[in-house]
Structures are given as structure tokens and as C-alpha cells.
Amino acid sequence: MRAFIVLLKKEFLQIRRNSFLPRLIILFPIVIMLVMPLVMTMDVRNVNVAVVDLDRSTTSRRILSHIGASEYFTLVYTTEDFHRAMDRLEKGTADVIVQIPENFERRMETDFPEPVQITANAVNATKGSMGMQYLVQSIARTLSELRDEKHPVVTSELITVQNRFNPTLNYRHYMIPALMIMLFLLICGFIPALSIVGEKECGTIEQINVTPVGRMTFTLAKLIPYWMIGLFVLTVAMLVARLVYGLVPAGSIATIYLGSMLFVLTISGFSLTVANFSDTMQQTMFVMFFFVMIFMLMSGLLTPIDSMPEWAQNLTLVLPPRYFVEILRAVYLKGTTLAELGVSFVALGIFAVLFNTLAAVTYKKQA
């Protein structure tokens, strides 16, 4: 027990003496939480619209003014020649062209209305499709307004949309839990592995190995500081989320911490396994990077798992972060309870046991 406490003390002493680690631990979560939510957004804004108005009627002007007034669009160009508008699209000064056909207003009343044509630059697929959707909505609203003014019949809305759990469809709220997970991956994934391989590189692990200290004791003393740091970082991140973005977890904080502890356990077990197989920090770095990449891109952190191909969806079942992404988002945004997330918690628990067993088995004191 005394050896364990001494090892633990030594680990903290080393972290404190390190010229870089303490700063990283404090600054990293703050910077990530302050900067990333502002830049990582799927909301499409500033779509440049060119309008080809062949109708020049009240209706077309009404459509134009609505587009101009929207915060999503900037009306950059109005013309009567489609080819000119197309030029703009090709040069990139316009993202979308809206063409209002001749006699649009007049034929609207007839049985054969000429449709409004929307042409979008879809190189940036998200911007193209989202921009198009917004435009369709905007024009449809204008047209139904006009129709209502002419024939004021009491109609009920055919479709109403309500975004539950994230009412303003705020992408930030969706991303903040994901960012917290990235912090875990980096702090509890990379640093313990690097710290162990660092001891291999400077030979100190050899010196420890000839003492009667057991491998479990040594490994635990190596991990516990990073578990504590991981939870500290989570706390800082949650505070920033609350103070800066006003995002308060809808569910219980205890559930969040429980999930986090399981996840930290899993990731550090994984990181230990990688460390056991590497001899240099460089190797560790690259192997960890490879896996963290997969974790970040395939665990539903950035893109929904449901939209992946089926084989990829099956693959995500063996990625532990997938379950934690589910847990953290559900608790944070929906207020889901521990009982409802039972399956994910059990899965995460299994991974925690699996990876730590693997780490223990692959750790060799003798070669």
C-alpha cells in the first residue's frame, strides 16, 4: 500500500514538474470548449443567391424581398438572363440561382402553373442541400402568404414541425457533448500511453521492474492520476458549457459522471494496451492517432451513425465511444435516465473490463 501511495505521489510530482502537461490540462478543455462550438457548425448561413426574375410581378418582388430579408441568404445579383446568373455560380460568387419564369404570377391562378426553378452549386453538399431546402421553405411560405391574402379562407396548417430536445435545432448543443468526448479521448487516451512509453524510453520501467512492486500497482498508479484529470476536465467543460452556452444537462449529473468514469476506464485500458505494444513514443503516437481518428469519425461523434452504410453501422458496435456518445447526448439533451440507457452502460462496462484485461494480459514484466 505504501508503494502504491509513493508511486501515485511520484506520478503527480512528475506531472507538476512537466513544463507542458499542467498547462495542457487547464488550457486544452477551455480552448476546445470556447472555440470549437463557434466554428463547428452545420447551420448554413450566408448563402449567396442570384435571382433570374423573368416575371417582374408583385409576386416575384415579394419572393425577392423575403429572400433578401432572411438571415440565411444574401441577395447578390438580380438579372433577367439565366446565363449571366450561371456565370456567377461558376465563378463562385453565387451559391444558388432562383429563376422565376415569365408570367409566373398570372399562371399561378391557372391549373398549369410554371414552377420556380432552383439551381444550386452542390460541391459543398451540405451547403447546397441545406441552402436549397431553406429556399424552398422560404418561397413556399411567400406563396402561401400571397394565397391567403387573396383567398382568406380559414385553413389549418397541414404540417407543423416541432424539434424536441433541441428546440432551436442548435447545432452547438449537439456538438458540445461530442467535444467533451474528444477531450476524454485526447487526455485519457494519449497521455497515459505516452507516459508509460516514456518510462520505457528512459529505462526507468526496468528499474521499477526489479523491485517487488507488482504490475497492477504500477499500472494503477499510472492511471489513477489521469482518471482524476479526465473527470476534472469534464467538470471544467461542463461549467464552460453552462456559463458560455447556457447548456445545462437535462438529465442527472450523476449519470453523466458514471458514464464518464466507465468511458475513461475503457479508454485508458485501451491506451495501456497500445503502450504495451510500443517501444517508442512515436509508435504510440501514431497507433493512438489511428484509432482516435476512427473513434472520432465512426462513433457518431460528428455524423449520425444511422446514415452510415450498414456494414459501418455494424462496425460501430465494437467502438466503445459509440456508446458513450449515445449516453452523453441522451442525458445532456433529452434527460434520459440511467435505466433507459441500460444497454449502453452495460456495453461500455463490458468494454472497460475487456480492454483492461487485455492491458493486464499483454503487460510483460519479463520477456
Partner: protein, 299 residues
């Protein structure tokens, strides 16, 4: 019971046979030297005896414990100082010593009398980080840490490599002091001149032990006549001397060449044959451990 018993131990790394059926014993309280060049297998042997490696075949006992079966017991009874400085460079001298004491479940006070002769020399720098110590001081700290749990057997892997001549001599004095206290010491060194400070030495090369004896007796095993020769031009001398009848070996040895002669060798004849070389001198010399090593290595 011997302090260290090694029976036909072998270890292979890929295509390299690091140790090839090595056997020897070290008596309790003995200062035993493993003398050999780089690649002789000295470090592998240390790593086996300190339970960091397991042998491919053969067995060994340290302090009566089997290195495979009783590896845990060995770890609390031996001290190991690897060839490379491997203490925590970001901890201070004092912290390193306290740390290793705690890992062995002892306190610095309990072992102070044993460590003191070594540790006293670096105690004024106890607040300095280990990484900032000079080479000789690092080595003294490493020895202090290896001694902190009062080991019965001490393994020192090339402790004097890269250390200046004065510190080297001091270090061997310290080892003599530890021997007085009954600690068995197995030390390796590539320096033949340090061999004379050991009770017994084993000359080793390419994974094999060439011979074991006391430093005095080992040179007596060199029965041939030995001469030191020099001339103004040393390289032609080497080539020509090897042609002379009765010359078994001739090899560079410091500022001279050493010449091993058999019964047919005649000094007068030799001088006459090499009269073309300016400044030729030849004189009989006593063999050194290095001469024995070269002879055995070529066998």
C-alpha cells in the same frame, strides 16, 4: 550455498545467440567481474539474473532462489544498476532515493549506514534534479538506489563506462567497501585494467565464457613468451613481424605491438630479419589480462 549459480544458460534474440550455454558460480561475499567487449552478452546475463528476462534453456539461482520460479523473492534481495542511467531525471536526488526505498518497503534511515559511504558524496546536491547531475554523480546516486534495500547480491552492469579515470578508481574503492560488508557483487566492465580489482573474473566473448580465474592466476595461464616490440613505423613492423619464424601472434597493444613467441623464436634472428626498420626495439614483457583475452578469443 553459492550466491550466484548459473548452469548452461542460453538466450537467443532472433538470429543472435546472446548467451551460449554459460555456466559459473559466484561465492558469497565475492567481487566477481565479467570482462568482455560489447556484444559479449554481459547485459543479457544481468537481465536474466535480475529476472527481467527468462532463459531459453539452462537454469540459474541467485541467493538460493531460482530465477524463473522465485523471481519475486529475487527482486527483494538483489540490487541492480543498469548500464544506462535509469532513475527519474525530473525527481531530485533525495526524491529518487526515497522513492526506491518506499518501493522496497524500507526507509532511507534504516539503510543509511550502508548507503552513506556512497550517498554522502552527493548529499550536498540532494535538492538537485537527477537529470542535472554530472556523470559520476549520477552513477553514485544509481548505486545508492540499488543499495537502499540492503541487497544480498548487487548487479552492476558496466558501472564505470563513460566515467572519468578518477571517478572510476573511486567507484572501485566503494565496491571494495561494500564487499567488506558481505555483499556479493557481480560487475561487468569492458576495461581490462579494472579486472585486477575483482576477486575472480570471467572473460567472455560472443555469448561464451572463455575462462574463469583470479586476476593473478589468469595471467599465469599465459605460458608462451611475450615481447613488446616497437619501431618508428609501426604498421610495416606488424606485417613483417608476423612473417618471422616462431611468431605465433602479433597484435597492436597500446603504443607497442605484442608478440607471442613459441620455442623456435630467437630474438637475435628477429632483429636481424627486421633490420630494415628504423628504431626497432624488442623486450620481454609480463602478460596482462588483455593478452590472455586475445589468446583465448582466437582459440
Amino acid at each position: 550455498m553459492e550466491a550466484i549459480e548459473v548452469y548452461h544458460i542460453s538466450k537467443r534474440f532472433g538470429s543472435v545467440q546472446a548467451l551460449d550455454s554459460v555456466s559459473f558460480t559466484v561465492r558469497p561475499g565475492e567481487l566477481f567481474g565479467l570482462i568482455g567487449p560489447d556484444g559479449a552478452g554481459k547485459t543479457t546475463l544481468f537481465r536474466l539474473l535480475t529476472t527481467l528476462l527468462t532463459p531459453d534453456s539452462g537454469s540459474a539461482k541467485v541467493d538460493g532462489y531460482d530465477i524463473v520460479r522465485d523471481y519475486l523473492a529475487i527482486r527483494s534481495h538483489v540490487g541492480y544498476m543498469p548500464g544506462r542511467f535509469s532513475l527519474y531525471p525530473d525527481l531530485t536526488v533525495e526524491e529518487n532515493l526515497d522513492f526506491f526505498a518506499a518501493l522496497f518497503g524500507v526507509t532511507v534511515e534504516e539503510s543509511y549506514d550502508l548507503v552513506a559511504p556512497v550517498y554522502k558524496q552527493i548529499e550536498p546536491f540532494r535538492k538537485r534534479r537527477a537529470g542535472k547531475l554530472s556523470g559520476g554523480m549520477k552513477q553514485k546516486l544509481a548505486l545508492s538506489c540499488a543499495l537502499i534495500h540492503r541487497p544480498h547480491v548487487l548487479f552492476l552492469d558496466e558501472p564505470t563506462t563513460g566515467v572519468d579515470a578518477v571517478s572510476r578508481s573511486e567507484f572501485w574503492d566503494m565496491l571494495a567497501g561494500l564487499k567488506q560488508r558481505g555483499i556479493t557483487i557481480l560487475v561487468s566492465t569492458p576495461y581490462m585494467d579494472e579486472a585486477s580489482r575483482c576477486d575472480r573474473i570471467a572473460l567472455c566473448n560472443e555469448g561464451r565464457i572463455l575462462g574463469i580465474d583470479t586476476p593473478e592466476d589468469i595471467v599465469h595461464r599465459f605460458e608462451e613468451r611475450l615481447y613488446a616490440i616497437r619501431a618508428d613505423q609501426m604498421f610495416p613492423l606488424l606485417a613483417q613481424a608476423r612473417q618471422v619464424e616462431g611468431v605465433m601472434e602479433c597484435y597492436p597493444f597500446g603504443e607497442t605491438h605484442h608478440l607471442v613467441a613459441d620455442s623456435r623464436f630467437d630474438v637475435g634472428n628477429f632483429v636481424q630479419q627486421l633490420s630494415g626498420l628504423d628504431g626497432l626495439t624488442i623486450r620481454p614483457v609480463e602478460p596482462t589480462i588483455e593478452d590472455v583475452f586475445i589468446k583465448w578469443m582466437k582459440r
